[in-house]
C-alpha cells in the first residue's frame, strides 16, 4: 500500500544525524525483511520449508531501527530472537543464507543442522540464538565482557521478547551485565504475545521497561513501529555503552500480526486488534513519513522494492533445488578434534 501524500517544498534535515541515504537503507532492510518472509511463505506452502516459519510482519521497524544503531565498522555484535530477521539482515546476513537455512540445504550456514534464523557469524558480528528464551542474555554479556576486558570500544546488543523476560537466564544475564557495567544494550521487543499468552499473564508490571529499575540501569520506551523513533531511542544507548556508561534496557512497543508460527490460527487474537495494528504498519508509516518530509520520493522507494524482488528471485533460483546434506555429515564437528566418535564399533553387528 502506497499512501498518496505530497512532498514538502523544502525538506527538513532527517533526524538523529541520519543521511538521506541511511534513511533509504533502513527502508531497504525493512522491505527486504518483509519480502523475504513473503517469499518464505510461498516456499512453505510448497512444503519446501522443512520446519516452522516465523513471521515478523508488522515488527520490521523495531528490528531494523535498533540494529541500525550499531556500528559494524567498530565490530559491534548482536544476538537476535526469532522475529529479528531484520536485525540480522542489517548486520550482514544474506537472503540466500536465510533461504538455505529454512530449506535445510547442505550449503546453509549450519549445513542443515539448525533451523531458520538460528545461525551466526563471528566475522559479521552476530551470534545465533537458541530456542531457550533468555539464554542469549548471559552469552551476550560474555561477549560484552570480552570487549570490556580488552578495552575495545565495541557494543553488544541482545534481543528478548515480552515472554523471554520472564526467564531466569534473562534475569541472571541482565543483572550480571548491569553489575559489571558491560557495554550492552538489551532490546525488549514487546509484541503483546508470547505464543498465545498475552503480556498481562506474563508479568504484573505495567510496562516492561519498568524492570530496568530493578537492575539499576536506564530504561527507555519507544514506538516500535516507527523506525526513526526506534533508532532515536537505541543510538544514545549504544553510544553510552561504548563510552563505558553501562547497559540500557529498551522496550519497543509493537504487535505480532501473524501467529507464533505459520501453523498458528491466532484464535486468541481479536480481528479488531489485528486490524488496529495493521493501520499502524511500520513500512506504510515509513513511506508516509519519508515522502511527507521529502526524504524520499515514491519513485525512489518503488525502485528499492523492485531491486529487492530481483534479488530474491535470484536467491530463490539459486538455492531452491540444492540438495540437503548427506546423512553421514551429521557426525562430524561435535568436538574440535574431528574424531567421529564410536561409529566404527557401535553399529557393527557382524563381528
Amino acid at each position: 500500500m502506497t499512501p498518496t501524500v505530497s512532498p514538502p517544498v523544502s525538506p527538513a534535515a532527517p533526524p538523529h544525524g541520519l543521511s538521506r541515504a541511511q534513511l533509504h537503507e533502513m527502508y531497504y532492510f525493512m522491505r527486504l525483511t518483509r519480502s523475504l518472509e513473503e517469499r518464505l511463505v510461498n516456499l512453505y506452502r510448497q512444503t519446501k520449508v522443512i520446519g516452522g516459519l516465523f513471521r515478523s510482519l508488522g515488527q520490521e521497524a523495531d528490528s531494523v531501527g535498533s540494529a541500525y544503531a550499531l556500528d559494524r565498522g567498530q565490530g559491534d555484535f548482536l544476538s537476535p530472537l526469532i522475529r529479528n530477521l531484520g536485525s540480522m539482515l542489517v548486520q550482514g546476513a544474506t537472503p540466500l543464507e536465510i533461504l538455505r537455512q529454512y530449506m535445510a540445504k547442505a550449503e546453509s550456514p549450519t549445513r542443515g543442522r539448525e533451523l531458520n534464523i538460528h545461525y551466526g557469524d563471528l566475522e559479521r558480528g552476530f551470534i545465533g540464538q537458541i530456542s531457550h528464551l533468555g539464554d542469549m542474555v548471559p552469552v551476550m554479556a560474555g561477549v560484552a565482557l570480552s570487549f570490556k576486558m580488552r578495552k575495545q570500544p565495541r557494543v553488544g546488543m541482545v534481543y528478548v521478547g515480552d515472554g523471554a523476560m520472564s526467564t531466569g537466564t534473562f534475569h541472571e544475564g541482565i543483572n550480571f551485565a548491569a553489575v559489571q557495567r558491560l557495554p550492552m544494550v538489551i532490546i525488549c521487543e514487546n509484541n503483546g504475545y508470547s505464543f498465545s499468552t498475552p503480556m498481562h499473564k506474563q508479568t504484573a508490571v505495567r510496562q516492561l521497561v519498568d524492570k530496568a529499575a530493578a537492575y539499576g540501569i536506564p530504561g527507555v520506551r519507544a514506538d516500535g513501529n516507527d523506525v526513526l523513533a526506534v533508532y532515536g531511542a537505541t543510538k544514545p544507548a549504544v553510544e553510552r555503552a561504548r563510552q563505558g556508561g553501562g547497559c540500557t534496557l529498551i522496550e519497543l512497543v509493537t504487535y505480532r500480526r501473524k501467529g507464533h508460527a505459520e501453523h498458528d490460527n491466532q484464535s486468541y487474537q481479536s480481528t479488531g486488534e489485528i486490524a488496529e495494528w495493521e493501520a499502524k504498519d511500520p513500512i506504510d508509516r515509513c513511506i508516509r513519513d519519508y515522502v511527507e518530509a521529502g526524504w524520499a520520493t515514491v519513485e525512489e522507494l518503488a525502485e528499492i522494492d523492485a531491486r529487492i524482488l530481483a534479488l530474491l528471485d535470484d536467491a530463490v533460483g539459486h538455492c531452491e533445488d540444492e540438495p540437503m546434506p548427506a546423512a553421514g555429515t551429521a557426525l562430524d564437528g561435535v568436538l574440535a578434534d574431528p574424531a567421529r566418535a564410536e561409529l566404527e564399533w557401535y553399529r557393527r553387528i557382524d563381528g
Binding site: 543442522r113 539464554d135 548471559p138 554479556a141 561477549v143 543483572n175
Partner: protein, 326 residues
C-alpha cells in the same frame, strides 16, 4: 621436589596457565577477595587483578553463559561453581547452549567449568554431589575427574588449553588429604581422554575415578594380602571422551571387571562402561561385570547414614571376592 596437596596442585595449574596466557581468566562466586570457598583461587586477585578474577552474583547460568560468550571471542574462561552441586542451576546453559555451540553453529567455546564435588565430608544432599552422569549424556562436553595431585594439575592445565568445553570435577575430600611430590618447573599436562593404570594386576580389574581410586587401591592391598588376588586398578581420569582402549586392554588382561563409583547406581556412569565392555569385549569376560556404587538415595547428612549410603572399601572387597570366585 616440593610436596603439594591436590588443592595446591590445582591452584598452581590455574596460576601457571593464567601467567602463560593473557586470555585465561576466572569468574565465580567469592573467587576474588575471599579466594574461593575452599581457597582454590587464593592470591589470584592480588596477582591478576579484578579484570581477570571476577567475583560474580549468585548466578550459575550467567556465569556459564558469560563464559561461553567470552570464549566465542577468543578468551579462555575458567568458571568456578562454589560447590559442584550448583552446576544444575546452569544445566540448561551447559547442555543446550555450550555443548551444542560448535556442532550447530561452528562456535569455538574453549572454557572450563570446575568445582568441588563428592561426599565423605558430611556435606548433606547439596554439598556432596557427583554430577558426572548428568553430563555424560551430552555430546559436545568433556568431563575430567582427577584423583591425584599430579593429575589435578595436569588436567586443569590441559582443560584450559583444550578447544572444547571441559567440565573439571575436583574432589573436595582429596583437597588437603592427598599430597605428592611435584617437581617445580615441570610442565605437567595430563592428556584428556587417557586413563591411568593406578595399580597393575592380573586377576581382576577395578575401574574407577576420583576419590574412589583410593578405596580401590585399599581394597586391592587387602585382596592381595588376604586372598592372594592380583587386582588391577584403572583410574579413568577422563569420563568424556572415554578411554575405551585402556578399558578393553584391562578387560582382556584380567577378564573380570568391577566398576566402582561414588555416584548413585541407576543411570550412573558404570552402566555406560558396562555397555561398552559388552559391545567391545564380551568374549573376553569370565564373569558378569559388577558394579559398586552409592545407593539410590539423596546423600544424607548423618555420618551413620552417609557411610552406609556411599561405597566403602569393604563393599569393594566383598564384590571383588564374589567376582574372583565366579
Amino acid at each position: 621436589m616440593a610436596e603439594v596437596t591436590y588443592l595446591e596442585a590445582l591452584r598452581q595449574g590455574m596460576m601457571e596457565e593464567m601467567r602463560r596466557d593473557e586470555n585465561v581468566f576466572i569468574l565465580g562466586e567469592d573467587v576474588g577477595a575471599y579466594g574461593g570457598a575452599f581457597k582454590v583461587t587464593d592470591g589470584f586477585l592480588a596477582e591478576f587483578g579484578e579484570r581477570r578474577v571476577i567475583d560474580t552474583p549468585i548466578s550459575e547460568a550467567a556465569i556459564v553463559g558469560a563464559a561461553a560468550g567470552a570464549a566465542h571471542m577468543g578468551l579462555r574462561p575458567v568458571a568456578e561453581m562454589q560447590f559442584i552441586d550448583f552446576i544444575s542451576c546452569a544445566y540448561d546453559m551447559l547442555t543446550n547452549y555450550v555443548a551444542t555451540a560448535r556442532y550447530r553453529a561452528g562456535l569455538p567455546t574453549p572454557m572450563v567449568v570446575r568445582g568441588p564435588s563428592g561426599g565423605y565430608v558430611r556435606g548433606g544432599p547439596f554439598h556432596s554431589q557427583n554430577p558426572e552422569a548428568a553430563f555424560l549424556h551430552t555430546p559436545g562436553l568433556k568431563i575430567v575427574c582427577p584423583a591425584t595431585a599430579r593429575d589435578a594439575k595436569g588436567l586443569i592445565k590441559s582443560a584450559i588449553r583444550d578447544d572444547d568445553p571441559v567440565l573439571y570435577f575436583e574432589h573436595k575430600f582429596l583437597y588437603r588429604r592427598i599430597k605428592e611430590d611435584l617437581p617445580e618447573g615441570e610442565e605437567i599436562l595430563t592428556p584428556i581422554g587417557k586413563a591411568r593404570v593406578a595399580r597393575e594386576g592380573r586377576d581382576l580389574t577395578i575401574i574407577t575415578w576420583s576419590a574412589m581410586v583410593y578405596k580401590a587401591l585399599e581394597a586391592a592391598e587387602r585382596l592381595e594380602k588376604e586372598d592372594g588376588l592380583s587386582v588391577e586398578v584403572l583410574d579413568l581420569r577422563t569420563l568424556l571422551p572415554m578411554d575405551d582402549e585402556a578399558i578393553m586392554a584391562s578387560v582382556k588382561k584380567t577378564s573380570r571387571v568391577l566398576i566402582a563409583h561414588e555416584d548413585t547406581r541407576t543411570g550412573g556412569v558404570a552402566g555406560e562402561i558396562t555397555a561398552r565392555i559388552n559391545d567391545q569385549a564380551f568374549e573376553w569376560l569370565d564373569a558378569p561385570v559388577k558394579r559398586v556404587t552409592a545407593h539410590d538415595v539423596p546423600l544424607p547428612y548423618a555420618p551413620t547414614l552417609e557411610d552406609f549410603v556411599l561405597p566403602q572399601t569393604d563393599d569393594l572387597v566383598v564384590a571383588a571376592r564374589w567376582l574372583a570366585a565366579y
